[in-house]
């Protein structure tokens, strides 16, 4: 059964392969995502982050969730040498690089606690898979080709892991390399496979921000594997990646 809902303005889907009706579990998972949106979205004036950015809330009054996300983001910023950052130049919080993955990871936990063992969650391009669509096969997670939305760069064979991709091709140059203050350069697309979506999402953003040395850096910081396409068309494969359909090697 596939469940679709639009959260954060983005279509999200949950594909559950366990027999039986798990509509409730799916609804709870979407609720988690919606709650995260309500709390962290910078587009909602009523969100906690917007309030913080207006100066209305002091650090000692942050909610536990906000503290947790800021903590994750700060650690990522440290480990990436500042390439990944959660504060913009003027000091305002920008948690977009963390929230989606963090929220999706919590949605995954919700599903698992509800007893769903074989599912695939796609939160606007961030993917988490548990179990198997048809045992013993792993889930086939396609990686979108940066140049063409109808084409795949490669199809990964993934089991019990999370896949997150970072790139400029959908929303433009919105990722900034915190070390230079300029838009990220070097990579056109970076896909990270990790144990959970929080890690995968953060690492994918950080890899993209860091550019050419991102993939190796990510491997040393918790990524199981990284698939990246550089600006000059080279394909980079680092770590433990298994494919259902190999990537097209550049000429």
């Amino acid at each position: 059964m596939r469940y679709l809902e639009s959260v954060m303005g983005i279509p999200m889907s949950i594909d559950i392969r366990d027999p039986g009706d798990h509509g409730d579990a799916a609804r709870d998972a979407f609720a988690v995502l919606a709650a995260a949106d309500a709390r962290f979205s910078t587009y909602l004036t009523t969100s906690e982050v917007s309030a913080v950015n207006r100066g209305e809330v002091t650090a000692d009054r942050y909610s536990d969730e906000l503290r947790e996300v800021i903590e994750i983001g700060t650690q990522a910023a440290d480990q990436s040498g500042g390439a990944f950052r959660i504060r913009m130049a003027d000091g305002r919080l920008d948690l977009d690089g963390v929230v989606k993955g963090w929220a999706a990871a919590r949605a995954v936990e919700t599903l698992e606690r509800a007893g769903v063992h074989n599912f695939c969650l796609n939160a606007g391009g961030d993917v988490a898979v548990v179990g198997s669509p048809e045992p013993p096969a792993p889930w086939n997670v396609g990686v979108r080709s940066p140049g063409d939305p109808a084409q795949m760069l490669a199809v990964l064979a993934v089991a019990d892991a999370a896949v997150a991709t970072s790139g400029a091709y959908e929303r433009g140059q919105h990722i900034v390399d915190g070390r230079t203050g300029e838009t990220a350069r070097g990579l056109t697309s970076a896909t990270v496979v990790a144990g959970d979506l929080t890690t995968a999402d953060v690492l994918a953003t950080a890899v993209f921000a860091r550019g050419l040395d991102g993939p190796d850096w990510a491997r040393a910081h918790g990524a199981r594997g990284v698939l990246a396409l550089t600006d000059d068309g080279t394909l980079v494969i680092v770590g433990d990646l298994t494919f259902a359909c190999p990537p097209k090697l550049p000429l």
Binding site: A137, A157, D240, A244, K248
Partner: protein, 461 residues
């Protein structure tokens, strides 16, 4: 063991050996084929020169003479078959043991046919002459000619060996049975030799033919004794090794590490295989060909084998300290043959062993190969960490059976999507026969010239 492996990869020792270009190789291989063909022509000439002028006078004499030619050609081809796998250095260097075995097999059908034809035509010839029934004539031939009982036993042995080696029947027989039956060929050759000289119309009164024939047989016997038995025995003892460790790389793939004083002298290159004889119960008398999965270093050798039969599962239970004799190295599936810039290594199942060794040597030479590793599932992947640790190597594991994936990654369209300019690459393929053949057909279809496609033929049997 893992850490040790990592350290070793950083400083592989290169074995210096003569580097042979592909052109020289083809020329040498052709020289061998020309020699064998010349021998055949010589046999035809021997027959031609000693055929009586009146042989066309009766159908009986024609039949008999045809039968004799058939026998002569058959006997020559049997000697050729034996020589091909006698481990003669000239043949091995020019052609390579794996292909020599292949040629040996190809001759098999002809030999069986010729032996049957020989018997039939001799009997028919005699029958026409004596106006007997075929069975009566058969018995008559057996009793009238000298040394025929021995020849009969030898011929039956030949036919048994030939039939048991036919692909379909072979697959149903246990390896040892087939191997020992095959060995009776030597006895069969010996037994059938005498009736040729003592009863063959082309030999009894023609001294030149007799001499040539004796030279042929003696030469073959000498070659076999020297290079198949005496020399290997001496070398084998000197180069004996012991099992150091047995490592389970993945369910179904086992690595065995060996160590010996003279291992480094063997001149083993990445991609070579050796014939191993293990001194354990039940495996004493059979030789197993296995490829190395690492460039040998510091007197240590490693093989990585898939569980493909009772012998491969025996490896799992090997005890450290077991004595092992290894013959070789054999095979031309080596990095020396890589001439193009872009190299694709295709591995399937147990083929990952030699491919991993080749990857190591190629990257040590400054190349940047790509490894396409086909496996049924993640659990079936082996040696992946070692491959991923090699700098300048792109590893692409594609997992899942074709039926699960819904497509065949090794088929033409998929491979063209993977590497659009594949026709400018060079490829080394090692894996199960079906997969390897499909991969090769795809590469040919995509325009890769045959001389740049290297396939390892692992089985010696």
């Amino acid at each position: 063991m893992q850490t040790q492996t990592m350290t070793v990869i950083a400083t592989p020792r290169r074995v210096s050996a003569r580097s042979v270009t592909a052109v020289m190789q083809r020329r040498r291989s052709r020289a061998v084929r020309v020699t064998l063909a010349s021998g055949l022509l010589l046999v035809l000439w021997m027959w031609w020169a000693s055929v009586p002028a009146t042989f066309t006078s009766t159908p009986a004499s024609v039949a008999t003479t045809v039968g004799e030619l058939s026998g002569m050609v058959g006997a020559y081809l049997v000697c050729a078959q034996v020589l091909l796998i006698a481990r003669v250095p000239w043949f091995e260097r020019a052609v390579g043991l794996d292909r020599l075995v292949s040629w040996h097999r190809s001759l098999g059908a002809s030999v069986v046919f010729l032996v049957i034809t020989h018997v039939m035509f001799i009997v028919i010839g005699g029958q026409l002459l004596d106006q007997n029934l075929p069975w009566t004539e058969f018995m008559l031939v057996l009793t009238r000619y000298p040394d025929m009982l021995a020849a009969l036993i030898g011929t039956l042995a030949f036919l048994a060996v030939g039939l048991s080696s036919a692909r379909w029947i072979r697959s149903k027989l246990p390896y040892e049975f087939w191997y020992w039956l095959h060995l009776t060929t030597y006895v069969a050759i010996f037994l059938t030799f005498f009736h040729q000289l003592s009863g063959g119309a082309h030999f009894v009164a023609d001294p030149l033919n007799r001499i040539l024939w004796i030279v042929l047989y003696l030469g073959t016997a000498a070659a076999v004794l020297t290079w198949r038995f005496v020399l290997p025995s001496i070398d084998g003892w000197r180069r004996r090794m012991r099992v150091v460790a047995v490592v389970q790389e993945s369910p179904g793939m086992t690595s065995v590490w060996f160590s010996g004083k003279h291992v480094d002298e063997l001149g083993v290159r990445a991609g070579n295989f050796l014939n191993f004889r293990f001194l354990t119960w039940g495996h004493l008398l059979t030789a197993h060909p296995y490829s190395v999965s690492r460039v040998p270093v510091d007197g240590q050798l490693r093989i990585t084998v898939g569980a493909l039969g009772d012998h491969s599962t025996m490896l799992r239970d090997l005890k450290p300290g077991t004595l092992v004799f290894a013959e070789g190295p054999f095979g031309h599936f080596t990095a020396d043959h890589a001439t193009r810039d872009r190299i694709l290594l295709i591995a399937g199942g147990a083929g990952i062993g030699p491919i991993r060794a080749l990857a190591e040597e190629l990257t040590a030479r400054g190349r940047q190969p790509v490894v396409l590793y086909r496996a049924h599932s993640v659990e079936h992947l082996a040696l992946l960490a070692e491959l991923q640790a090699m700098p300048e190597l792109t590893v692409v594991p594609v997992i899942g059976r074709r039926s699960e994936l819904g497509y065949d990654p090794l088929e033409t369209v998929s491979m063209r999507n993977f590497i659009p300019d594949l026709h400018t690459w060079e490829a080394f393929i090692c894996g199960p026969e079906g997969m390897a053949i499909r991969a090769e057909e795809t590469l040919r279809a995509l325009g890769m010239p045959r001389r740049f496609i290297h396939r390892e033929e692992l089985s010696l049997s």
